[in-house]
Amino acid sequence: MTAIAGVRDERPAVRAAVSVAVQLDRVSKSFGGKHVLQQVSFSVAKGTGVAILGRSGTGKSVTLRTIIGLVRPDSGRVLVDGEDVCGMTREHLNTTRRRIGFLFQTAALFDSITVGENVAFPLRRHTDLKEREIRDKAREKLEQVGLESEYNKMPGALSGGMRKRAGLARAMALDPPLLLVDEPSAGLDPLTTDEIDDLLASLKEDAKTTLVVVTHNITSARKLADRLVMLHEGRVEAEGTIAEFERSDNPLVRAFMTSEHAG
């Protein structure tokens, strides 16, 4: 992004600061000498969707994890609603996390409790709702992902795609204003993928939920994202709108944009 200078441009910049939900500022992270993220910067405006694209192992999941404070960057800042996630006290971090829904790539359901209880878990922990209301809400969220009949099943009894959807229901339980989802459609058939995409799109349109979606699916990205961020080997290779990506002559971007015809 180009630096904005001059008096006239200052006001929009200030307004932008408040309307930014997530901002990564030169975030770097290594694991045992391996540079997984290098100077990654991008921001997500409130109520918009950003899709993170990139090949396997380029640091998409790690990027998502830094936003919720599960991975601490070695350098750089991660701001959520303008506050640095890394500098937060435990209580402050938890307050912030309550406003964030997170779908893990592996779904990460709690396997000792039922699917319904997984979705009810955040409600039990963080709301004063009555038992009945908690169950109703959990059921409603499961219904939205098409799993209302699996309420009393154990996570181990679900298929991979079902687990993913249950994980999404749990992420949505507290109606968070910010939703981070790691490959929501991985392991889903095209029809279910469309349904999940429609659900996420409706959250963005109706509830003004901010979305950060890791996806390999360009069709999904079109539906959900206002901007795209392409990571490659831990760096931001390209960033822009769908239209900009379509016009791009970056070979990697082109490869991704044309892959939709294949799948």
Binding site: R65, I68, G69, L70, R90, L93, N94, T95, R97, R98, I100, F102, F104, T106, A108, L109, F110, D111, S112, F121, P122, R125, H126, R170
Partner: protein
Amino acid sequence: MLDATGRIIATVAGEAGELSLFGFRAMRDAFRPPFEVGEVFRQVHELGLRSAPLIAVSGVAVGVVLSMHTRASLERFGAESMIPAGLAIALVRETGPLTAALLLSGRIGAGIGAEIGAMRVTEQIDALEASAVDAFKYLVVTRALACVIALPILTTVMNFCGMLGGFLAEHAASGMSLRLYFDRSFSLIDVADYVPATLKTMVFGFIIAVTSSYLGFTTTSGTEGVGRASTRSVVFSSILIIVSNVILVRLIFFFFPGLQS
């Protein structure tokens, strides 16, 4: 050769340091809100109550065997009437607490190591954190408290079942009545025999929970790592129990000099 030894010592020292920090953190967080009361009770049930059958059966068996040994030695002096009291003191002062703790380091230690290890490798611990739950408090502190509560109770169960086993053996050998047996059992036992020895199992409970939680928490490399965490939980908590027992017994003798007579 020396280099390798040095590395091993450094690794062990490092792990011991980490484990101690983990333990201190568990103690500190136990007194900081929010208190996970519901989860503590669930764990007391899961780890404590469900271990009761193991402890009861083992207690009876240990009692029978101890009684046979006591009889063999006391018969020589014509002191068979001392069997119940001798057995009771041996059980309450040392055999009950140590046997219970070692058995539980097997059952509870392996369970905690495997459960928390599996939660680590399947990202469930991260999912707790992402749900704004302090995973350390929710998983480790609750289990530590549950074990600290459960161990003295289970030890008491062990002692009692041991005496029952002693009675069964004695009844078979000499036909002694239940009433007389228990009268004689309690004739020489003092509060100082029971209380410090039983309370020291709170330390054992803490050791089991913290050691196996630590190994579970730091699990890496998938299913294989989970198995390793589980095994190492049993090995390390047993060793730590046996070693700390030496220190605890010295402390108890220091504060209750009467026990040495």
